[in-house]
Amino acid sequence: MTEQWAEKVLLFCRSPARFLSASGTTADAVHAELLRELRDDRAQDHVKVLLLAPYCEHPLVLCPSVSVAEDSALELMSVFSQCSPKVFPLRCHLLVAVTSVLVCTDCVRRRSSAVQDVLELLLVIVQDTSELHSDGSSRSLRATACDCLREMEACCPGLLSQHLELLGALRQRESSRLHQAYTELYSLVLRNSVLQLAQDTGSGPEQLKALLEGDVCVASEVTQDSDLMNGKDVSALSSLVLGPMGAVPTLQTGPECKELRSILSSLLEDSYLLTSLAQSSLLQKLIELVAMVPGVSPSIFRAQLLRLLGTTEVSLLHTTLLMKSAFTDSLFSAEDEEFLLKRLVVLSQHPLLSTAEKLFYLDCLLHFPENRPIGSGDRDEVLPVLFTPQLATALVPTVFNDRVTMLTRFNLLSMVYVEDGEDEEGKGLAYLYEHLVALLGIVGNGGNRDTVSTFFRASFLFLSHFGHIENFSRHLIKRLCELYLDHTHLAPQLINLANETQSKLPDSNFTVALLQGFQRTITKVSLTNLKSQELTCHLRVLSRVAEERDIPQRPTLLFLSAVVVASASSPLGNWRLGNSILAVCRCLLTHPDLDSMLVTLADVLQHMSSSYRDTDIQDHSRLYYTLLTNLSKEKLAGVLERGTATEGDQVKKRSLSCIVAESEGQASILTIHRTKKDVLKLVELNATEPRQLPEDVKDSCGSVDAIVDYRSQFDGPEFASEVTVRYQLVHSEENQPGSPFDRLFSIRLHLSLTDDHYEALRDVSVPCLLRETPPPVISLKLRPRQPYPTTLNASAVFTTQDGLTWYSNLPNIEVSFQQTFCPVPVPPAWGPLRRLDLFNALWSEICGGSEEMVESAESLFCCGLDRGALEELLQRHLKTFVLEDDGGGGDWHEVRAMVFLPPLSHLLLKVRREEDAVTFDIATDNWRLLPHVNSFLQDITSSDTR
């Protein structure tokens, strides 16, 4: 039993959506099942703890609306009150679950009534000190209640301002180790209350005094004043220590604010008694408080400073950085600043700290909060002024570092030497280069994948800082060429390095020199012992070389010529190799020096077209040969235009002539690109067509006949098995006019199911979507197996004007239960009376408890609605399904509605107004629909949606 639940809960928590669709249930049903089990006295406590996990992790899935959340919170509270006071873990988990439900569903912000009850209960628990017998190792209920209150206050700042004094007294009184929970709660409420005062322009010392002394009037005024749904609320959630006092709201109190100062001193004094993690949170709040109240000097922290600077705990040392950033030279002298910086350097390489901590300190060095920052504003990495090359030597990268540390240090040191103006004579720079060569040596000796990628990253860093220093770059190119010759499988990495350096340093000639080096290396290679993989890599590099306009291509051409001659007779000459050769040829065809290569290139192509072993390659060689010999250079370039000239997202038209060349051009034409944003969306169309009912045939044949006639239609398997939902396909808001996606062609929409309640959907084709013309309408034909609500994943593949093919996700399509409603498919000739007959016949069959109707069920739904509201509701939601009866709707006695849900289900409703309530009598021949019917009715009758 336990294992079953454990498995279920685990699956639910990992992915609620997948769990629901796989098990075919609804969130409502899971919620009901969980609650039932929680209320069951026979269930074991540890199972109940397990069952609370979904409420803690995914409260919004189980409680999608405020009303459901309130009900669940009250249910959980009743479980809480019924369980034995001794089962601490369960009771603690219950409090956490209730808090999660109320916070996440926004109940706390709305101060709903359940929240008031829960708050009261939590405040009672935190004041109840009778719980002394709790065993020290299990976390007590009181501490958990404090945590819950703190979380509510954190999500809804100001919630507990009225209780500030009470919480302060509780904190003072508590001497067991639980005082930490009270301190955390109190300090947060204090911080939020003072922040509210500070944001309120009229506040001064009197208000602060009143707040601290627990003057409830003022305190409640404070809470009333702040509009809880406005933007301030969110700003109160974020940290106030960001830069040198920048955006912190301040509370002018004058020098006299003894009360606050004594509270802060007492908190600081006790801070030692908290765990490091709690201590750092407390200190952060105190920093924020002092930053908001200029009447309290930051020197209040001085006594703690050495203890914090000497600590081995990362979170405590972090608070000194926060203080530095908030108070700069009003707390840290120039000497202190230098000391702190050295301390950071020590910590970034201390042998006893973990790698992650050291990396954190390295990052802090590059974002050091200086007393007098130069060029504030941008927060990108900047070296601190006091960070000398001397200090930096402690942080040089070595081959013994892990990859992230090595690269971080490499970057840092590169920045130091750039700043220091080192040239090729510089010792530091020489060290970095030697380190790079050492890495290269390790790669050359067969270093693993991690070392390889680290080496290329380090090379990129080195080149982006020092690529202009001729000596180093020339030597590096030499070493890279040697490396390539021994390890041709590194071709993708080397091409990537060439590409990235080119785009990072557009003015540098490094890339050209590097590629020319490769060309020299490759073209000297003897073909006799070459393996086919090596040859493919060589051709791949050469085709990249051929893209460079400034590199003479004669050696490449001679190499190609030799390869072609050699491959014609050897088994090497397969399609793949031919394709690689053609890729190089194609780049050569567009090269500006084509004139000088014309004859040799034509020879190569002609040779391939006549004697290459693969016919396909022969054909393509012939095409290139024909193009080369018949077109002018300009036309040839036009035909073969690679289209890689990209400007932003705008891509030029592409030609299909490159289809054989295994090049980037081909890749981008043949691959489907993913859009960065959603480009399209589907908008539901609500229009329902008016119905024209035929006149009734006078003699009604009685209800039994009606049902027989009606049923006989279902003999055909296809009958009435579809629901048609209509959508408009439009551009999404994220896709602003003027983008390349304004005109889309051959759109193919693919809709996939997230559960198995429906038959798979066919793709939908739309010829085009243009901004200037009305959006196309799409009819989705859903074929339900069970008419449940569902979610469809939608995606589209389409072509833009430049010939590229794109793939884009669309927002999910939610098919509601209501959307599966269809008018009952009676024969077209039937008039209102026959329909009524059918209704009555079905109703009595379902309610008659006939044995054939095992699936049927009745139910009742009541709610309070006035007459106007009810009429509006019927008009809006059920109009199509209401049966017109002889009474003609003038008398509001009873309205009957009959809904058909494909493929075979019916839902019958009798709606009556009685006294002050409205009752919906429900009958259906598919009892599984009842939870959905219930949600539907709740939905349309609840005040939220009306």
Partner: protein
């Protein structure tokens, strides 16, 4: 301040990845949604997170040598905070994803960013980052508490305890503490009666005989090149570990470290958070500023109130004038074999009394050894079973002369290739020393039994000890190239 989600992943030898535990903190996620506004990206399903995380850590697609997303050279992982791109859409990124990994475990969490996200705030402004790191390393220590060894059952049972552990230390996404390792020796769960507040980090009160144990361990590392152009390097760091069994809610204990007149000053001192006050003179000496400006030679006083469990009171580094063992190592290719000679010299200031002392001479990128003709002047020489390592067991003492040597020839021609190490190609090779010397510190630092003060009703028994250990103690072959390991060489 808080974290949005926590993932624990295990990675087996075959690089198979599995998610062992995950937890989302919904209320923190709610805050993230409010704070993030339009830029809010929800945490996706676990399998998506797992896939992205593996790519970012360079662990995805282990069979492919180049994957653009993973290996692009312009994408440099530079901080402990990773960025996961949920989709090509710019705003769909999870940041800052923290990870720590050790052995088979990768722990990861997503801290809440409680600051405007544009421009991206520096990590130093987000307290949740350092708190997240602390939580992760605490959980890591808890999960691997069997001592870093892979112990699948122990790991599974500790993973099963995580929900109740998290209820105590991080009930709603705000880390309050790290898990306690093991149960403290004596934990009487009595709440104190007096006014003195009990520290939150103290799970109970000690009852019984008072005893304080202070253990000083120094670790020495070295890189010796035997090359006039490469400076030999060595450094020392020490830790002071305490176990205090003292009665009282907040008893005071003071431990004092002293140096002899010729000792090396202690630098880079880090203290445990239970130390109540730190003198500025203790903190000023650092190893990083080169100049030896500090004139402070101790005594180093550490007043503190101890937690129940053993803890590291403080740590330091020290620059000692000489390495304890100076070695030289030469390899030469002769005909078909490798000529090998090495000497080790124990410095006169070091006590000639080891708990153990061994020198390992591994050989990489070669076949197995086929013939070993090597003599040692002292100690005993073994060849390991795989025939790729010579183990020179020196034992408890060096010879009287304090200098010992090894010389001989090795041929490689065994049927099986030995292990590979791309760093040790050609003649690049090293000797690695393993030794431990009881009752010795290189810095000279010591804790006098009488200097430990305990302010408590009962008189406490005091135990002190010290020892020196080696770690990463390398002697490189001077006839081959050797990797550089420190920036001191630039100076």
């Amino acid at each position: 301040m808080s974290i949005r989600a926590l993932w624990i992943i295990s990675l087996d030898k075959a690089e198979n990845v599995s998610l062992r535990f995950s937890k989302r903190f919904s209320t923190v996620e709610h805050r993230a949604k409010l704070l993030g506004g339009k830029a809010y990206a929800p945490v996706p399903d676990e399998d998506v997170v797992l896939q992205l995380l593996m790519t970012e850590l360079g662990l995805s697609d282990p069979e492919k040598s180049y994957v653009p997303l993973r290996d692009n050279c312009s994408h440099c992982p530079r901080s402990p905070a990773l960025e996961l791109h949920l989709s090509p859409r710019e705003r769909d990124t999870l940041w800052p994803v923290l990870t720590v990994s050790q052995g088979p475990l990768i722990l990861s969490c997503l801290p809440l960013v409680d600051a405007p996200t544009k421009p991206r705030p520096p990590l130093s402004s987000l307290l949740s980052v350092s708190k997240g790191l602390t939580l992760l390393s605490g959980l890591q220590a808890f999960l691997l508490s069997s001592g870093g060894k892979t112990d699948p059952e122990g790991l599974a049972s500790r993973l099963a305890l995580l929900p109740s552990v998290l209820l105590q230390i991080c009930p709603l996404g705000t880390p309050l503490d790290v898990p306690i390792l093991g149960s403290p020796a004596t934990s009487a769960a009595v709440t104190p009666a007096g006014n003195q507040k009990q520290p939150a980090w103290k799970t109970g009160l000690h009852r019984g005989r008072a005893a304080v144990t202070v253990a000083l361990t120094e670790v020495v590392r070295s890189m010796q090149y035997g090359n006039p152009y490469k400076q030999d390097l060595w450094d020392v760091y020490g830790t002071v570990t305490c176990k205090c069994e003292v009665e009282g809610v907040l008893p005071n204990v003071t431990v004092t470290l002293t140096l002899p007149p010729n000792g090396s000053p202690l630098q880079d001192i880090l203290v445990h958070p239970c130390v109540t006050s730190v003198d500025s003179s203790i903190l000023t000496a650092t190893s990083v500023d080169g100049s030896d400006s500090s004139a402070f030679w101790g005594p180093y006083k550490f007043p503190f109130s101890p937690p129940l469990e053993p803890f590291r009171l403080c740590s330091y580094t020290s620059q000692v004038p000489v390495p304890p063992i100076l070695g030289s190592y030469q390899l030469k290719n002769e005909d078909d074999c490798l000529h090998i000679s090495a000497t080790l010299k124990l410095h006169e200031s070091v006590k000639n009394s080891f708990e153990y002392c061994e020198a390992h001479l591994p050989f990489f990128n070669r076949d197995q050894m086929s013939a070993v003709d090597v003599r040692v002047s002292y100690g005993q020489l073994d060849v390991n079973r795989e025939k790729n390592l010579l183990v020179w067991i020196i034992g408890q003492k060096f010879s009287k002369s304090r200098e010992i040597s090894l010389e001989g020839k090795i041929s490689f021609g065994g049927p099986v290739p030995g292990p590979r190490d791309p760093m040790c190609s050609g003649l690049t090779s090293y000797i690695k020393l393993y030794f431990k010397v009881p009752d010795l510190t290189l810095s000279g630092c010591s804790v006098d039994q009488h200097s430990v003060q305990v302010y408590s009703t009962a008189k406490a028994k005091i135990f002190t000890s010290r020892e020196l250990q080696s770690k990463e103690y390398f002697i490189w072959n001077s006839t081959g190239s050797a990797p550089v390991s420190s920036g001191q060489m630039i100076l």
